[in-house]
Amino acid sequence: MGKEIFMPDEELDLSVNLGGIIMKNPVAVASGTFGYGGEYEGFIDIADIGAVIVKGTTLEPRCGNLPPRIFETPSGMLNAIGLENPGVGIFLQEYLPRLRDQGVTVIANIAGNTIEEYARMAAMLEGNRGIAGMEMNISCPNVKEGGLQFGVDPDMVYKVVKAVKEETSIPVMPKLSPNVSDITAIAQAAEAGGAAALSMINTLMGMAVDVERRKPVLGNIFGGLSGPAIKPVALRMIYQVYKAVKLPILGGGGIMNYIDALEFIMVGASAVSVGTGNFVNPCLARDLVWDLKKYCIANNIKSIEEIRGAAVQ
């Protein structure tokens, strides 16, 4: 709507190889913000998206947290969904075949309570056609038993990534938590454990207070902050990690337009992910690809590689 008719050069190839995850373009939709793809049918052709990272799955089904689960904050939002999902079995039986038939590049997202759970899920996903990559949520701040511990301790990160890697030939992409003091130590541990790529960042832990009721707003008290409010933190962390490891990075956190995406690329991201932005504009992933192509043509750029890390000093 309101866009001038302008055909981006079909020849311009923006495909990326994210540590073995082949994406037709550098824009993914982030886990938990796009359901299993079907919810946004009609708004966007999901086969056109670089990669659809599906909602986080766990070994057993989870019913999620007590509402309220979301709350808007200045230029962002808090969420405490609590990993509501039908379990990895249902994902494989019901959702994956449908996505595969539609030609969608699917990245699964797994979360576990123990190293063994991660390894079992990896083994279950292994051998299924149509999973381009496996994002490991080692950073979900919402589930009390697991989540945070894995993502904040380099030793645990190394072990869990290694355990998953041993079970699967699918490229493994740990998703780093920003709720740590030294992000590079975590990234290095993931690299040593055998990660093919890194995804960053997950949400920042936060909360909001209902002054009238004198209570936390969210049923879970704490929630993960996402959206434009976290973009500066995400950029800083990717900048640091880009310098510290060799792995390709899927960067995101508050991306709302192609300039935001360029910022991530210029601090070292090989591809970008959009999360909260989908809620505002369900066609954001498509619009970003379009706008990135226009940008490349206007600036005589032949590949995203030419500008990746350009702002890193």
């Binding site: 999620g64 509402p67 689960r69 989908n278 809620f279 505002v280």
Partner: protein, 260 residues
């Protein structure tokens, strides 16, 4: 099928203090609209407020391809929305959600609205009336000036009973008391209700006591509006541990399903 479109604003007026009627052209969204569904509106292009705001279909003119909303200014988003002027555009996504189930012709429906909760009931009244149902609307507000749907309901031609807390029009007191005193349950086949939770709880109770089935329209904070974020969760009586999503499984639910 839902769409996103920039709707040309035809009319945007303050119909009462802090209450606005917004009509815009939405040729893609309008044809599929059903009563009880909603549109997800972006109130500004800035990142603050960031998320869309859900607003019910107050009226739909399928011939013209226009949608009318009725909203109350309560915070940042609705405040910003008031600034959009005729001939400008409003970014709308919809129609979303599961609307009201429609009563068969010749049956009698009672529509109970509280405050701005009257919004979805007006379009419902129009559609029910068109398909030959008998429609009674009762509307509870604080004071006469909030009876903003009066004109539309008259034009549709349904029976209308207001209640005001200050007695400035109609019955003085709660809409649920008006319901008990002025409506004969034997005349009613089905109840539709939208308003504050307390009111919907009481109306559901009265309906149940009289053996009348009905539906309510619920609210919760929303992000995506399409069932993707799992943010707008609500437990139903029948769904054990499972949470339903108000945006996708609702916002309309059977009265018997809701634990108030």
């Amino acid at each position: 099928m839902p769409f996103i479109e920039n709707g040309l604003v035809l009319r945007h007026i303050e119909v009462s203090r802090d209450m606005y009627e917004l009509e815009f052209i939405a040729p893609a969204i309008a044809p599929d609209c059903r009563p009880g569904q909603f549109v997800h509106i972006r109130s500004g292009l800035d990142n603050n407020p960031l998320l869309r705001r859900p607003l019910s279909l107050y009226d739909v003119d399928k011939k013209l391809g226009s949608i009318t909303l009725l909203y109350k200014v309560v915070g940042k988003g609705t405040n910003l929305l008031t600034r959009i002027r005729p001939k400008e555009y409003v970014d709308a996504m919809g129609p979303l959600g599961r609307g009201f189930s429609l009563l068969p012709p010749r049956k009698t429906a009672l529509l109970v609205g509280g405050g701005v909760g009257i919004a979805p009931l007006v379009y419902l009244a129009r559609v029910l009336q068109q398909q030959g149902c008998k429609v009674k609307v009762i509307h509870g507000v604080e004071s006469r000036r909030e009876l903003v749907a009066l004109g539309k309901l008259r034009e549709i031609g349904v029976e209308f009973l207001p209640s005001t807390m200050d007695g400035s029009a109609g019955y003085k007191g709660l809409v649920t008391d008006l319901l008990l005193k002025k409506v004969n349950p034997a005349d009613i086949d089905f109840v539709y209700c939208c308003g504050p939770e307390k009111m919907m709880a009481r109306v559901s109770e009265i309906a149940r006591e009289n053996g009348i089935a009905g539906e309510v329209s619920l609210e919760e904070y929303m992000a995506c509006g399409v069932g993707a974020c799992l943010g707008c969760a609500r437990k139903l009586k029948s769904s054990d541990a499972q949470y339903k999503k108000i945006c996708k499984d609702g916002p309309v639910f059977g009265m018997e399903e809701i634990e108030f």
